[in-house]
């Protein structure tokens, strides 16, 4: 049943340097890399050895607990390095790209005729499965689980995030194929949420339940929408897929080729010309970063948006799931009497001599300073102002900190992902690491309950 979701609680973080709607082709990258930390909780097992030649779309490694789940190479070339960390854990795979690309082609699937098992097998084999995530636990979906529904959020509210209405324009065919296929994997509904009044590529698609959403961040997060549309109960699974990943899934189904092409938003106050670039998953960020120019020496390059992304370097590589790269100034400097003088250049949810409430539309140039030290939880009632789910955020965080499994369950940990706590983390006066706390809580819950 389509609904109109209006979110009141929240906070938009308006930052300087949003990407302009113009797209350039990034120069092709010499090396590509897959960062294993993108696949939280998955234990990889190598399918090829160091030095092996792989085609684009050929498996590099697979899920140790589920060998059918393949992770494929975004390019053809030589696997030049398997970087390992403590206890020989694989950290990064580096591939030296061929000049002439060779592509592995699977048999395309006729989605209309194929049954669920055939689609599942195709997605696992073609390397598309890792794009499907599940809740609870916020990990790659268990292929054997039966999701009660599948959710896609096509409403973007995160700061400096890519505008998918722009980047996915004209991809209706791929999106439809992917959504049709996913629809066969669930006895429930495929829910897609689009921004109210936005010209979305999802608007005309069939076989889905289309919802409209409006309101400040985190209205665009899929977790917020699940909580409104069909909250997760204990024992249930729901799957989530990002719109940009649906395009890759759809193209694979239609053509049999895993095409890791991405339109990436390069944004942030450190970027001279924030705009979009087309490149591939795993490409070196410097291949498009310096094309736009960087106007600060001390910057932080982030794979993803500033609230949930991961820290990287210009020589780093585009993450498996990311369609944005944000570059903001590092804030490793002291501020004289920073705690008591009036603040005009930072965002705050209070009015304690902070004045961002005067101009809610103003764009800010925030740096990575924590603006204060880590403390115990003191202030109450402030997280609730930016947390639209029917969950007590501070109590849930505390339950995760003291590892009370029963309480974590009862307070709704099944329904959340770390990203849902990015905004409470942003406004946290005690500077507590909310996302990390939730992540550790989810890992513990998965280990204990499974």
């Amino acid at each position: 049943m389509p609904t109109d979701i209006r979110i009141k609680k929240g906070l938009n973080i308006n930052l300087v340097g949003a990407a302009e709607p113009s797209t350039s082709q990034a120069v092709s990258s010499n090396t590509y890399a897959i960062n294993l930390s993108d696949f939280h909780g998955m234990t990889p097992k190598m399918a090829v050895r160091e030095g092996a030649e792989v085609q684009a779309g050929e498996p590099l490694f697979y899920n140790k607990d589920f060998p059918e789940m393949q992770f494929v190479s975004p390019v053809s070339g030589e696997l030049v390095e398997i970087e390992r960390g403590a206890r020989r854990r694989i950290l990064t795979l580096r591939i030296l790209a061929d000049k002439q690309q060779r592509v592995l082609k699977h048999q395309p699937v006729d989605v209309a005729k194929a049954d669920a098992d055939a689609i599942r097998a195709f997605l696992l084999q073609s390397g598309c499965w890792p794009f499907i995530w599940q809740r609870p636990y916020d990990v790659i979906a268990d292929p054997l689980s039966v999701p009660k529904a599948i959710f896609v959020s096509a409403y973007v509210t995160a700061p400096l995030a890519a505008d998918i209405n722009y980047t996915l324009k004209g991809k209706e065919k791929e999106l439809q194929a992917a959504l049709d296929a996913l629809g066969k994997l669930t006895p429930g509904t495929v829910h897609v949420s689009v921004g109210k009044g936005e010209d979305s590529p999802f608007a005309g698609l069939k076989g889905i339940s289309l919802h409209t959403v409006s309101g400040p961040h985190p209205a665009g997060l899929v977790g917020t929408q699940i909580n409104r549309i069909d909250p997760i109960n204990k024992g249930e699974r729901v799957w989530t897929v990002s719109p940009q990943d649906l395009v890759i899934i759809g193209e694979a189904l239609l053509t049999g080729i895993f095409n890791p092409k991405r339109t990436v938003a390069l944004a942030g106050s450190c970027v001279k010309q924030p705009k979009y670039y087309t490149t591939r998953i795993g490409a070196e960020i410097s291949t498009f970063l310096y094309a736009s120019g960087v106007n600060e020496t001390r910057c932080r390059v982030i794979n993803g948006d500033v609230l949930t992304g991961s820290k990287t370097r210009p020589e780093g590589h585009l993450g498996f799931y990311n369609n944005a790269v944000s570059v903001i100034p590092e804030g490793d400097d002291y501020e004289f009497f920073g705690w008591n003088k009036p603040v005009f250049n930072k965002i705050s949810n209070t009015r304690a001599l902070t004045f961002s409430w005067l101009r809610p539309k103003k764009k800010y140039d925030l740096d990575t300073n924590t603006n204060g030290e880590h403390r115990a939880f003191v202030v109450t009632g402030q997280y609730e102002e930016v947390f639209p789910m029917d969950i007590y955020p501070m109590q849930l965080l505390k339950a995760c900190m003291y590892k009370d499994i029963d309480e974590m369950e009862q307070l709704g940990l099944y329904e959340v992902a770390p990203e849902d706590f990015a905004l409470t983390e942003f406004i946290c006066i005690s500077k507590q690491p909310h996302q990390q706390i939730i992540r550790e809580g989810l890992d513990l819950l998965q280990k204990e309950i499974g």
Binding site: A121, V146, T350, N369, T380
Partner: protein, 425 residues
């Protein structure tokens, strides 16, 4: 590069790094972070953070207390000189610019209140520093507000050594044993106040302690009186203060509790800045009014006679409870302490209401010490976790009910796994 060319910022940075991991690091960092917000950057999660930290939050409460503190300087002086005039048979009426905001009043109050403030901060912060160095954590900001509240909620002539003993007790037993700021069950400032009240009752209650020197002069030719309005009412005696005096605070009482007007302004500032909970403040006011109305009703119905020792306070106009005694101060600055109060929005309504309600109840039924707000808040501090527990249970029950009505899909079994393996080969 010579050291002379280094800026203060650089020099402190060098000292900070040289002290890293050493015992004295927390003590130095407390001063350093007072001057400079640290150069710390985000490591996990959100890469950008909001502008507020705990120091700013505490500082906002202190700003809301400053007008009350300055007013207390004048009022302490004014009450002293007014009492002398009254003893000489020439009672004063207040004239804001004529006889209230005078240098004479200010200086007397300043010299009386400032030592209380210095002892409160000095002793309290010393204890905090010692604990921080021993336990190796940073000095936390909780005492910045507590230290300001303490001198404002005691009688002006409280001996400094008593205050020092009480502060040590309050900070150690009321806070540090629980783990410091954010972990305590009872409001530290009120723990200090309660300690003074039960350990040294003669200095904390009665009709002589509220005006400077009233105790010392007892029995001499220069004797002065300093009864509070609540004290007079508890003895079914009359008082000579107008409603405006009560509202603006030209009355005897604890150092900073008298001016309902400035407390109201402070409260509005705290609500506007989103630092203190309006839910607690509003519901506490409602609670006090309801209890006051009940007592007024009882008095009007003639259920207690005029000879009853409760009659004076019971028949006191219900809304005036808010502008005499410490109720307004307690509601605005103490009940709203986020650590010891209710932590859920719904719980805050219940918590606040009961504080107002019980405060007025204790006032009326405890004529020996006709003031109840600090006991009511401490009592509700103890019950706040229970209130929250039931509020949160309601949320949990909702989730369980949803689960009960849901049809959970069966998840796949091992047979399916083999089937799938056959398919993908």
């Amino acid at each position: 590069m010579s050291h002379k060319k280094l800026t203060l910022k650089k020099r402190l940075h060098i000292i900070k790094h040289s002290l890293r991991g050493k015992k004295m690091a927390p003590a130095f960092n407390a001063f350093h972070t007072f001057l400079f917000t640290p150069d710390e950057t985000t490591h996990s999660g959100s890469h950008v953070r909001g502008a507020d930290d705990l120091k700013r939050t505490m500082n906002t409460v202190i700003l809301a207390l400053l007008p009350v503190l300055v007013f207390s300087f004048f009022n302490t002086g004014y009450q002293f000189y007014a009492a002398i005039d009254a003893a000489n048979g020439t009672p004063r009426t207040v004239d804001l610019f004529g006889n209230f905001l005078t240098w004479e009043n200010f200086w007397l109050g300043f010299t009386q209140v400032l030592p209380l403030l210095i002892v409160s901060y000095g002793v309290g912060l010393l204890v905090e520093f010692i604990f921080a160095v021993i336990k190796g954590h940073e000095v936390e900001e909780g005492y910045l507000v507590t230290g300001m509240l303490v001198p404002l909620i005691v009688p002006v002539d409280t001996p400094l050594w008593m205050l020092a003993v009480a502060v040590v007790f309050g900070v150690v037993i009321g806070k540090e044993v629980f783990g410091g700021t954010g972990m305590n069950i009872l409001n530290p400032a009120l723990t200090i106040r309660a300690f003074l009240f039960f350990a040294y009752p003669t200095w904390m209650s009665g009709d002589k302690v509220w005006v400077h020197q009233a105790v010392e002069r007892t029995g001499t030719a220069d004797a002065i009186s300093g009864e509070t309005i609540l004290g007079s009412l508890a003895q079914n005696a009359s008082y000579s203060y107008s409603t405006a005096d009560m509202f603006f605070g030209f009355i005897p009482g604890s150092v900073g509790e008298t001016s309902a007007f400035l407390i109201l302004l402070g409260g509005l500032f705290l609500v506007f800045s989103k630092i203190a909970s309006w839910r607690i403040m509003l519901s506490a006011v409602i609670g006090a009014l309801v209890m006051g109305l009940i007592f007024n009703g009882v008095a009007d119905m003639g259920w207690v006679g005029e000879s009853s020792r409760f009659y004076g306070l019971m028949s006191f106009d219900f809304w005036k409870h808010l502008i005499v005694g410490g109720l307004a101060f307690g509601i605005v600055y103490m009940a709203t302490d986020p650590v010891t109060g209710s932590q859920t929005n719904r719980g805050k309504w219940i918590y606040g209401f009961l504080i107002g309600f019980i405060s007025v109840m204790i006032r009326v039924f405890n004529p020996a010490y006709p003031e109840g707000v600090f006991l009511a808040i401490l009592l509700m501090n103890v019950f706040a976790p229970t209130i929250d527990h039931y509020v949160i249970r309601a949320n949990v029950r909702k989730r369980l009910k949803r689960l009960k009505n849901a049809t959970i899909l069966p998840q796949a079994d091992a047979g399916k796994m083999e089937e799938l393996q056959a398919e993908t080969v």
